[in-house]
Amino acid sequence: MFRATLKSLLARKVRLILSGLAVVLGVMFVSGAFVLTDTLGRSFDSVFADGFSEIDVNVAAKPKVQVNEMEGEQTVAPLPAALVDRVKQVPGAASATGVVNADGARVIGSNGKVVTSFGPPQLGENWTGESELLKLREGRAPQAEDEIVINKALATAAKVQVGQKVGVLTAFESKKRDFTLVGVFGYSGDRDSIGGVNEVFFTTPVAQRLMLGEPDVFSSITVQAAGGVSDEKLRDDVARTLGADFEVKTGEQVAADASASLKEGLSFFNKILLGFAAVALLVGTFLILNTFSIIVAQRTRELALMRAIGASGRQIIGSVVLEAIAVGLIASVLGLAAGIGVGALLAFLFGKLAGGLTLAGIGVPAAAVIGSFAVGLVITVVAALLPALRASRIPPIAAMQDVATPDRPLTKVTVAGSLVTGIGAVLLFLGLSGNAGGQTLSTILGGVLFAFIGVALLTPLISRPVVSLLGAIFSWSVPGKLGRLNSGRNPRRTAITAAALMVGIALVTGVTVILDSAKGSISALAQDTIKAELVIAGQQGGPRPPTFDPGVLDKAKALPGVRMVDGEYGDMGRIDGEGTWVAASSDIASLRQIFGAKPTAGDIDRLGPTQMLASSDTATSRGWSVGSTVNVQLTRGEARTYTISGIYESSQLTNPVTLPATAAKDFAIPQPIQGFIQLDPGTRVSDVQPQVEALLADSPEVSVADRDAFIKQQTSSLDGLLTMIQILLALAIVIAVLGIINTLALSVLERTRELGLLRAIGLRRSQTMGMITVEAVVISVFGALLGVVVGTGLGAAVVEALKDEGITDLILPWGQMGVFLGLAAIIGVVAAVLPAIRAARINVLGAIAHD
């Protein structure tokens, strides 16, 4: 039996390669995701280990507000300079150095634009001398107030040379300040940057003032151990001396912690990639199922003969499953290898994009290997199980009869399909209505999965009328008519092939519906509500939003025709111990007059220095009312008590909590992020805009745009997200195309005689190809149609569920849907090329000669 299986496998290698390819692609995604995250993770480790290699012990303040990777960067309050001397006194400490090291030092390049880092921080620091790690390549150390040195990679990116004047924006000064570049440095190992981080060194007082906002403070203190004292002992001694208010860690610990927080982000990324792998594999499952079904059908005689000469049904199942295992194994190996390649390539691209992250060697973690084989094997075997069962039911008599496989009724499939679709609908309803008891995401995903499988099961029934309707378009020509009849010939086969395409298209359509609706709803709200003709904002290129000089706000207010100007600040704060996004407006009156906020309690037009406003949702969930007092801890400064003086109605445009403008100095980013300008009635926007533009000359990160352009810019991040999702889902569509090619190729093979007959009675080669192409186009357009319908349904369900979150308008992307259908027609034509050529090449004589 084993031999027979092996032989039949070899005999049908081409057919199996195509279906195996689907598994290869899915597995590639899985192993690629693991390889990428492992490689990047270890690269981060080595970057940080390097960066902190010269520190024995590090002292920093405890973070006042803990933020995770998704919420932004962790910023800690500074330490008093006097602490350095206390640390020096600790026995075992050879030296202690106060270090200024904070994100937000942005160099303006020779083109007048801020050099962005796309992720890694842009550090502003105090020069404490060269070291093993850091060596000046050119020039000298900064000595005067207006002197800086920067790392080589940054100098190259900014296109600036030693001796030139260079503009820099700093954490506490978003107005350009000119410095003289007196030196450029590099790192050991001839590196121009470490992990793409940009570094600007000032003299210590300047760094303190511009990066930390006050004199005589440091971000941290680095301690060098005296000979014979271990880092750990020194750490413990320093910690004991300083007390519980400080975080004292060894250099190794700091490196590990810094790396861990980045890896947290990576693992999230990993999960996303695995999600797409799951989609690809779902599509692959359909494909394998189809291939094995067709192969079993084509081997009916052979299998019946085996039964007739004594093989048991079990043995038949065994032989099909064995075949599946072989295919799964080969596909897993190939997929793993391809994944390693793809992972390495992506890691390389990521390294390049992140400003030259030096990659650690490509790693193949055990998870990649185990995941690849588990996924590849399980998927293939599960998909082959149904065809195997069917094979075992072939009666021995079939060997003696002509291969007239009766059209099995679709009742069972249809009932099963309705049932599974029903389960999917229920799960979706539970998940979307928030009744899933903490399992919302997995319930929704389960619902989507069930819905897909259910619809796939219903597809054979739907395919009959729809396919004949679609095919009717082509029926004017004989090949068209024949093609149409062929696509309706085996509803199950057509259905599964189309369903595979449906999955990808449905997900893309669903996501498009959701994002378009979100975009539309938000812009509609913004359009209706924001009463500012001009907006100051910039495009965010890294973790830190662009900021501008707050002085611009007052100057803009003084311009003729300007009625009101508001600068917006934001920070992740802790209110009564709970992390909360807090905002501050430079002009509190804007809340009502620009953002259309309506008071529900108290007074929202005024805000005293210890008063705070809250949105109605936040107030309800936290149990606040006017007069409640709350404890607010910001990134910097001491915790303070605020009294709620007013509550405004929640909307998409209002913040959970609004603090007085004076609080903004303790925010992680103490500079305004956006500015809103309301003009006097009758003032022309085009009159004011250039004047504001002139005011922003020294704040090159931002620009002033009219309101509509601003709204477009704000929602454009959703477009980027959509494009990314579409690219990732394109893989699922590619796999589905493989499925169409596979089905057609197998059908052509199966119909060799028929094709020969047609050629014998005068069908031209081109007509033969036309016939196959019509079949392919009908199947793929059918699949896309299903996908568009199912995707719209899913998307609409999610939008409905998000009504309370402010997505009020359901926007159907008709244009996109049309594109998908057109694309499907093209996909059909492309998929048909090889099978059609094959069909056209069929030797007439060979096809009709008797066996």
Partner: protein
């Protein structure tokens, strides 16, 4: 040596010193050894011979389904030898009809659609009177909307005959058309073929190894070992059988 048969000038199909060699070296098979033959218009010719004698090969070469190693083949005015795929396709469309032993119909089409298929492929309309006549003679009037799976083997083969006839080709080639049928259905099909020759002047060349089937023809050409060895005009089952026996003994003696 070759026996040349058929003297009429108006041949519907003609083979001229046709050789067909399969393979090369050790595996070389000479299927036809210099066959020359003419198949007259309006006649029903049977090609007889034992299995492996080259009957099918000759028919395939005549119909342009297979290329000849040497010699020429023509259908009507057209020289088949040397035509490309497009030319051969056109030839099959316009001048030749086929009836095979099995797998003769498209399972997706009804009987009527199958019958009209060659015409629709060529983009021609059927002559309604002729169509009616054909349907009448095959006797399938009430079965026209059935699919092949719903028809018996004999009915399917009659549909195939009607399909070959309806475009009025120069010549119809039939390879063992009754090979898969019981004797009664076979007789129906053969009667029908003979009638289409007698009443409508159709030219038919039929390959068979069954003497009873051959007896329906106007003339029988005997093949043995790739050569034409004998012929009979106005054959009966007995005379055909006798000739076969004689050839068999001759072959045995020859061996």
């Amino acid at each position: 040596m070759t026996a040349t048969v058929g003297q009429q000038a108006q041949a519907a199909a003609r083979a001229n010193d046709v050789w067909k060699v399969y393979g090369s070296g050790e595996a070389q098979v000479i299927a036809l050894r210099g066959v020359s033959a003419e198949f007259e218009r309006g006649r029903f010719t049977a090609i007889m011979g034992p299995s492996g004698s080259g009957k099918s090969t000759l028919m395939h070469c005549l119909a342009g389904l297979d290329s000849v190693t040497r010699g020429t083949v023509s259908i009507g005015e057209t020289t088949v030898t040397g035509l490309g795929d497009a030319g051969l396709t056109k030839l099959r469309r316009d001048k030749v009809g086929f009836i095979f032993q099995q797998f003769n119909l498209l399972p997706t089409l009804t009987a009527k659609e199958n019958i009209l298929l060659p015409l629709s492929i060529a983009g021609r309309k059927p002559d309604p009177a002729w169509y009616d006549t054909v349907i009448e003679t095959v006797g399938l009037k009430d079965r026209l909307d059935h699919r092949p799976a719903q028809l018996s083997g004999g009915q399917q083969q009659r549909v195939a005959c009607a399909r070959a006839l309806v475009s009025r080709p120069e010549v119809i080639f039939a390879d063992e058309p009754t090979g898969n049928l019981d004797s009664r259905s076979g007789a129906e099909v053969l009667n029908f073929l003979r009638n289409s020759v007698r009443e409508h002047g159709q030219t038919i060349v039929m390959v068979t190894h069954d003497p009873t089937a051959a007896a329906y023809a106007d003339r029988v050409v005997f093949l043995a070992d790739g050569e034409i060895v004998s012929e009979l005009i106005e054959p009966t089952a007995e005379t055909v059988l006798d000739t076969m026996k004689k050839l068999d003994t001759a072959a045995e003696v020859g061996n």
